[in-house]
C-alpha cells in the first residue's frame, strides 16, 4: 500500500498521522491484509452475505424526542469552528 492510498484512507477517515506513522501503518496493513486474504480460498459462490451474527430482525421502537436528553451548549446549538 503506497502513500497515495494511505492518504486517501486518512482523508475518508478524517485522521491526521505523521509520515513516520503512515509508514508503520502501511507496513502493518500489508501484513494484516495478507493474513485476511486467506478468505479468498473459501468457496462462497452460493452463499448470501450475512448482515449480523444471527438471523433475527431489528426490533424498532417509536422515535420519540426525550427533552431531557437535549442538553446543547448554547440556545440549542453546538458551537464549532468555522466550516470554511
Amino acid at each position: 500500500m503506497d502513500f497515495t492510498e494511505i492518504n486517501h484512507l486518512l482523508e475518508l477517515a478524517r485522521l491526521e498521522l505523521s509520515n513516520e506513522e503512515k509508514e508503520k501503518i502501511a507496513h502493518d496493513l500489508a501484513k494484516i491484509l495478507d493474513y485476511v486474504n486467506q478468505l479468498q480460498e473459501v468457496k462462497t459462490d452460493n452463499l448470501e452475505p450475512m448482515a449480523g451474527g444471527t438471523f433475527s430482525k431489528n426490533i424498532l421502537r417509536d422515535d420519540e424526542i426525550n427533552p431531557q436528553k437535549l442538553n446543547l451548549e448554547k440556545e440549542g446549538y453546538f458551537e464549532v469552528p468555522p466550516i470554511f
Partner: protein, 492 residues
Amino acid sequence: MIKDLHDKLINQEITATQLVEDYFKVIKEKDSQIQAFLTLTKTQALEEAKKVDEKISRGGKIGILEGIPYAVKDNILVKGVKTTAGSKILENYVASYDATVIKKLKNEGTILLGKTNQDEFAMGSSTENSGFFITKNPWDLTRVPGGSSGGSAAAVSAQMCAFSLGSDTGGSIRQPAAFCGIVGLKPSYGAVSRYGLISMASSLDVIGSLTQTVEDAEIVFQAITGQDKMDSTSCEVKQIQATRYKIQDTRFGLPQEYFVKGLDEEIRDKIEAVIQKLQNQKIQIVEKSLPSTPYALPCYYIIMPAEVSSNLARYDGIRYSSITNYPACAKPACRQGRALAGRQSPITNLRDLYFKTRGYGFGQEVRRRIILGTYVLSKGYYDAYYKKAQKVRRLIIEEFNKIFENVNFLITPTTPTPAFKIGERSADPLSMYLSDIFTVAANIGGLPAINLPIGFTKNNLPIGLQIIGPYGSDYSLLQIAKTIENIVKVSL
C-alpha cells in the same frame, strides 16, 4: 461466592458497609501494583451500602445481589461517572445516562466500586492498549491480564470486587478470564442489552460477566439478561431458552481444529485430563470437525474493523467531550483549537478539528483498525473483503448449526497460550490478534460461550477451558458448566 456474601449479610455477620470497606482495603493494598481500576466510586458505594444496612436492620428482605460490591468495564455508561472506554478522546466524558445493565444492577441494589481499565475502545487482547496505563496479571505482575476486559478480570481475580462486568467482541471476556483464572461468560448475542455500551463492532459486541464461580455467572446473567426496547438487536426472552440438560444425556463435541499445532502443550494436557475425567463419569464426548475454523479470525479482522470505522466516526472532538489540559478560552471550540494548536498547526476550521482531534485522541491500535475498516469498506474493495467476509460468516454459522444437530456443546481451549509477558506481542499486531484465535468464532455466530478455569501451568499461570453452546442455550450452558466445574474442582 455471591451466595456466601449474601448469607453473611442476611445473618448480619457482616454489614454492607464493612463489605465495601473491606474491598476498598484490598484495592488500596493491591491496586497500586495491579492497576485494574481507572475510577473509584467510594463515596457513592458507601452511601448505597448504608441504605442496604438500614434495610437489613429494619428487618427488610434483601435480594441475592443487594449489597454485593462489583466493578464495571469503563466502556459501560454509569450516569454521573467518568466513562472513557480507555481512550484519551473520552478522558473528560461523564456519562449522562445509565446503561441498561447498570440500571438493572442498580435496581437489584448491587454496589458499584469503580470502573476498570481496558484496551482502548476494547481493541486489544492484553490491556496494553489502554490510553492510560497497563493492568498487570495478579498471578504474575510481569504478565498481561489479557484483554480487552483486563481490568475487570484482574479485579475479580485479585478479589478487589465480588464480580465484574465486561464486554466481549472477539474474546474480550473469555480470554482475560482464562489468563486470570476466573469464570468469564459471553452470553448469546442480544441476550443482554447493549444500550449504554460504547459500541466497538455492533454485530459482535455483547456484555457479560467475570466471576469467581459459574453459580455467580448465573446469578449475574439472570440479573442483566432481558429484552430492551432501547437496543433494537436485543432478543426476545423466549429465544434464551431455559431447557436443562442432564449431564449424562449431554453430548460434547471436540472440534479437532482447536487442537492444532501452536496450542501450548501444558494447556493441551490439562484439557485432555478434564476430558478424561468427564469420560470416566460416562459423559459422551465425540471428536468433531469444523473445517471453517481457520477462517474465523481472518473473517473477524474484516467485519470488526469495518464496524469499528463506522462506529468511531462519532468521535469528532465536539460531541461527548473535548481533549484537554488546554489553555483556558471562553469558547469551547477555541479551547480545543488552542490546545491542539500547541502540538502542530493551528485549527482554523471544522475539518482541521476533526483530523487533529482524531489523530491525537485515538491510540495506535484504534487508528490502525479505523484505517483497515475504511479500506475494506472503500470503493473497489468492498466486494473482495467485506462482502466476502459476510459470506464466510454464513458458512461458519451454518457449520455451527450443523454440528449442534449432533452434539449439545463444544469443548475447546480458550486460549492457545497462557498469559504472555508485557511487551511480548505489542510490537506485532498480528501476533496479538492470534491470541483470540479460539474465541472469535463464537462472536461471529452470536453463540454463548464460557471460560472455566481448570488448573495451572508449571509456572503457576491459569489455564482455561471454553464451552460453546448453540444460540440461546445460555442457561443450559451455565448448568453444564457448573457440573464440569464441580468435576474439575473435586480432582484438583
